[in-house]
């Protein structure tokens, strides 16, 4: 659906995006990263609103730079900031955006009404946008991105400024768009919970670089570590495992043992017998999105759980969609 190769963009002194190589499959993809990670720049490059310094981007097979107009006809964009004309009626504005995307007037009128109903603004569609609450404005932004039936929607921080109930409703809408309406969604956010809830895939950016990408479930389960908890001191068990050639991280009473094959379970059993350790817990380590995200943001030397997560991301990313950025 979306491919980029060595995509780079610099703004004066800031390298906003640095050699991003991506392959985003159909479905809902979360674009994660802290403020300034390059998420909005990536979306603008994909939309052809910015020209890359290096590399290329393709959306649904269209070159984002050379075929920008054809590509924009089949994508929808919901920007981060408010960007709505306050003295337009919601119906008029959504209809106008449909017409700008090439829909004939009669179709645009009908679809504007339908879309505003879909986002929950059916009864409010003849009110001026300026009088809307933040949540309603977000819905208008979503409606204008959806009205022309795009193949891909770029949603930039769609839950910004929403209260918990509004955020929940927005995520329900996004989930419907991606999984019921069959429209591919790229959801940019710095909120892990939002992405974890609706996305099938994730791309994690940090300071302009892609630090992880792949199927969300694969990233969270394919962990090259086994967690062992002992009743008493974990240190002797750790030493015994290290003597057997395993890398072990200690975190309180827990050990995170490097996983290469199922042989590690035999090694743990033998080491436990050797050190007379009482095992109370033995499990393949399950990462949360937060682990993956923090590992991606952290370029510091290995340190406890964060390091374990970092190595897990590298492995999962390699097994996921397109591998990890160097």
């Amino acid at each position: 659906m979306v491919q980029t190769t060595d995509l780079s963009k610099r703004f004066e002194r800031v390298q906003a995006l640095d050699g991003a190589t991506l392959s985003v499959p159909p479905g809902c993809t979360g674009l994660l990263g802290p403020n300034g990670a390059g998420k909005s720049t990536l979306i603008k490059l994909l939309l052809g609103l910015l020209t890359p310094d290096r590399g290329e981007a393709r959306v649904e097979g269209f070159d984002s730079t050379r075929q920008a107009l054809a590509m924009r006809a089949i994508v929808g964009y919901m920007p981060e900031h408010e960007s709505l004309p306050s003295d337009w009626m919601a119906q008029d504005f959504v209809r106008y955006m449909a017409e700008l995307h090439g829909l004939p007037s009669r179709v645009a009128i009908q679809r504007a009404s339908d879309t505003l109903f879909h986002v929950g603004l059916g009864e409010e569609r003849y009110r001026a946008i300026g009088g809307f609450s933040t949540g309603m404005k977000q819905r208008v932004k979503l409606a204008q991105a959806l009205v022309h039936d795009p193949r891909v929607m770029f949603l930039d921080e769609p839950t910004n400024g929403l209260d918990p109930a509004g955020r929940d409703e927005m995520l329900v809408l996004i989930d419907r768009i991606a999984h019921e309406m069959g429209i591919n969604v790229i959801l940019s956010s710095h909120l892990l919970a939002d992405v974890e809830r609706v996305a099938d895939h994730v791309v994690i950016l940090s300071t302009g670089r892609v630090v992880a990408q792949g199927a969300l479930r694969a990233l969270m389960t394919a962990t090259p570590a086994v967690t062992v908890r002992t009743q008493d001191g974990a240190l002797p068990l750790a030493e015994a495992l290290r003597r057997r050639g395993y890398t072990v991280q200690i975190e309180g009473q827990e050990l995170h043992v490097e996983y290469e094959s199922d042989d590690v379970y035999d090694a743990i059993r033998d080491a436990a017998v050797e050190t007379d350790a009482a095992l109370v817990h033995l499990k393949r380590r399950v990462l949360t999105l937060e682990d993956i995200y923090l590992a991606g943001q952290d370029d510091s030397p290995p340190n406890g759980a964060r390091d374990g997560a970092g190595r897990a991301v590298a492995a999962a990313g390699a097994s996921g969609a397109g591998g990890q950025e160097p």
Binding site: L84, W88, G102, M181
Partner: protein, 290 residues
């Protein structure tokens, strides 16, 4: 009836995909131009946005309507002293420039201040098409003010003459002079207004700067013409941005004006100013990063 009600059911159509035609850039440009016209006239906007544009529009039709009404109902009141087309243009210049000064910021400033451009430019349109359609919308409205009343007056004069055919034969030149005068006035004031409006996000500042620029140019020109005397000093009148279209229109209708400048030179300066203004407009929008 009861059978129909019994058989009725609510159907949730769900989300419908669209697989019809997607029209191109020309359609989008036409849509944007029409939207600009409606916006400038305050259509589908609160009442306060309608007052000034419609008032100025009515005023621009006033002279032609009154003249024709007088000629029909009280012909003796006017006798043979019919105001000429150029004098009507001269008197309505303030209306034209004020309309452009109010409408151009309405078309351009709000979209930038409210950051709507990021949505428009993510649609399959170009920046050039966007500014061209806003400018075209303004020019269309000014053409409505500068051309239509005069053409109505011309047609009325022809119909009220002893012989409409003779009137048309004798005044054919007036027809194309009206067309040229109306078109030049509309294009000129619109170009200046959109160029000024592209430099600020505030409507009031844009209108104030535009009207101020025209007034100051008139005052400075008048002072210079009076106090500076050298061979060719009358050309300082070209600084007067309001005087330029007046001089060209008088030249077209072969009416003398003070100072006596070549109307074609004035037309050349106007065309140069239009080119510079539109270039500034395009340059400004090419630099916007939203």
């Amino acid at each position: 009836m009861s059978e129909q009600v019994a058989g009725a059911r609510i159907i949730d159509r769900g989300y419908q995909h669209y697989d019809g035609a997607r029209l191109g850039l020309t359609h989008a440009t036409r849509v944007m131009t029409w939207a600009a016209i409606k916006r400038a006239l305050g259509i589908r906007r609160p009442f306060r946005h309608k007052i000034l544009p419609w008032l100025l529009l009515l005023v621009s039709f006033g002279p032609a309507a009154f003249l024709l009404a007088f000629r029909v109902f009280v012909p003796a009141a006017l006798g043979n002293n019919l105001p000429s087309y150029d004098s009507i243009y001269n008197r309505l210049t303030a209306v034209y420039l004020l309309f452009a000064g109010l409408a151009a910021p309405d078309l351009l400033c709000a979209d930038r201040r409210e950051r709507v451009l990021s949505l428009y430019f993510a649609a399959p349109i170009t920046r050039l098409r966007y500014v061209a359609s806003q400018y075209a919308g303004l020019v269309c409205l000014l053409l409505l003010m500068t051309l239509v009343p005069m053409l109505v007056l011309f047609a009325g004069n022809a119909l009220l003459a002893n012989s409409a055919w003779d009137y048309l034969r004798q005044h054919t030149d007036d027809l194309w002079h009206i067309m040229l005068s109306g078109a030049l006035t509309a294009v000129y004031f619109s170009a200046l207004a959109v160029a000024v409006a592209s430099f600020t996000d505030r409507r009031a500042y844009a209108t104030g700067t535009y009207v101020g620029l025209l007034l100051v140019s008139g005052v400075v020109s008048a002072i210079l013409v009076r106090i500076v005397h050298f061979s060719g000093s009358e050309w300082l009148a070209l600084i007067n941005l309001v005087f330029l279209p007046v001089r060209v229109i008088r030249g077209l209708f072969d009416v003398p004006a003070e100072p006596a400048l070549n109307p074609w030179a004035c037309a050349g300066v106007m065309l140069g100013l239009i080119a510079v203004s539109l270039s500034l407009l395009v340059w400004r929008y090419a630099r916007i990063r939203d």
